[in-house]
Amino acid sequence: MRPTHRIEGCVPTGSVARTRRIETGEVPEAESIRRAQQGDAAAFERLYVLHSRRVYSLCLRMVGNTAEAEDLTQEAFLQLFRKIATFRGESAFSTWLHRLAVNVVLMKLRKKSGKETSLEQVTEPDEESGTPRRDFGAPDLVLSGSIDRVNLQRAVEQLPPGYKSVFVLHDVQGYEHNEIAEMMGCSIGNSKSQLHKARMRLRDLLQEELRSKAREDRRAAGSASGSEG
């Protein structure tokens, strides 16, 4: 038999993993923000329930590691709740939260790469000119039908942090360039440029992976036919 109710008045801690079972229509977000600004525990929890899935997914896509994504999610919400008293509603709450989350993740990525650099500096030198690299000599492999989410995720993990952030925010999370620009503190043009470079680099990485796989297959086929002979 499964318990179907909570003991009322008890600490709601731990219930948030069951996001889908919580009735989110109960209190408007603005009311929850107002209450959280006064230190109301239930309001904090409700804001967490409303946004944690998206923030966690963003972190997970950016760092590709569940333990790190959990730490970053906690850190993003902690920063949010520390500053919530200063929220005046000039921008959407979710945009504010995601800007915080993106900054937390970027900080982490920069620390990992050992660089304290700005967003504009996290691209690679050969692509700073703004003209994407083209390698007309290499044979093209068709990605369509050959790549899946795992290939893509692996390739995204190899992108420089700036490219990665914009690609994940735009092509995966579905943000518009103006929103990304606001979150990342850059221009819309910069966001577009980074996305273009990110996609081109991803294409290179994915094609290289296909080539490596084709080489391995050929080697395996060669050694198999050699052992038969």
């Binding site: 499964r2 996001t19 006064q38 290939n151």
Partner: protein
């Protein structure tokens, strides 16, 4: 024949992907297999990104538990909140509201929760949970046993701390402890019957946390002689 070259098309690629397709670009694409391949690849990347977007997951429960403990430690969460215009949908204060209504959030509650969370996280591990369900179930069983033992120790300490307190308050707290214990027993039974049921496991952890919080408040009252 198209006047557009490959580099020019490349400069318009993002506009093309957004649906802005000039006649020149169309003509170039019709003639250029290389750029057709490029567009096909970009479509493949975008489609795969869409598949990835559909795969969203909730963070594990312990993330909120740890976060809440941090919020309590930093004093960001307050028990007694005077909301200017109480909402009609406000959560009822419930069964121990009368007893704990005037008590400030005990610092010890956060410490207890933190200790419990540390134990549970150390024993179960979020990655393990996602990677190997059966191992996580075993981990859950191990860690709930540890949590249960920790709570028994904490209960002994809390009860002895209450020895000098007001007998009426002490009796009420013991009644509440009995209610939580019954809740825990119910949750433990659920987990035993359905060890693979994640919701049942979450409820059990939830019940332990409630007991930890209650014990912390008992200890606080005992220490403060209230």
């Amino acid at each position: 024949m198209s006047k557009m070259g490959c580099n020019e098309f490349l400069n318009q690629l993002d506009a093309w992907m957004e649906g802005e397709r000039t006649a020149d670009a169309r003509a170039h694409l019709h003639e250029c297999a290389h750029c057709r391949g490029l567009v096909a690849d970009m479509d493949a990347i975008r489609q795969t990104a869409g598949v990835w977007a559909a795969e969203e997951a909730d963070p594990p429960a312990h993330v909120w538990v740890s976060l809440r403990a941090r919020l309590e430690q930093e004093g960001l969460i307050r028990d007694e909140v005077h909301v200017d215009e109480p909402s009609r949908t406000e959560r009822p204060r419930g069964w121990f509201a009368g007893i704990f209504g005037a008590v400030p959030r005990p610092a010890l509650a956060g410490a207890y929760l933190l200790a419990l969370v540390t134990v549970s996280v150390a024993l179960t591990g979020p990655s393990t949970k996602q990677l190997n369900e059966s191992r996580w179930i075993r981990g859950t069983q191990d860690s709930t046993g540890t949590l249960s033992a920790q709570l028994q120790n904490a209960e002994r300490d809390s009860v002895s701390a209450m020895a000098e307190s007001d007998p009426v308050v002490t009796a009420s707290l013991h009644d509440n402890l009995a209610i939580v214990d019954n809740y825990i027993a119910l949750c433990e039974k659920s987990v035993r019957e359905e060890p693979e049921n994640e919701i049942a496991r979450d409820y059990l952890y939830d019940a332990y946390e409630q007991k930890a919080d209650l014990l912390a408040q008992m200890t606080e009252r005992g220490v403060n002689g209230r």
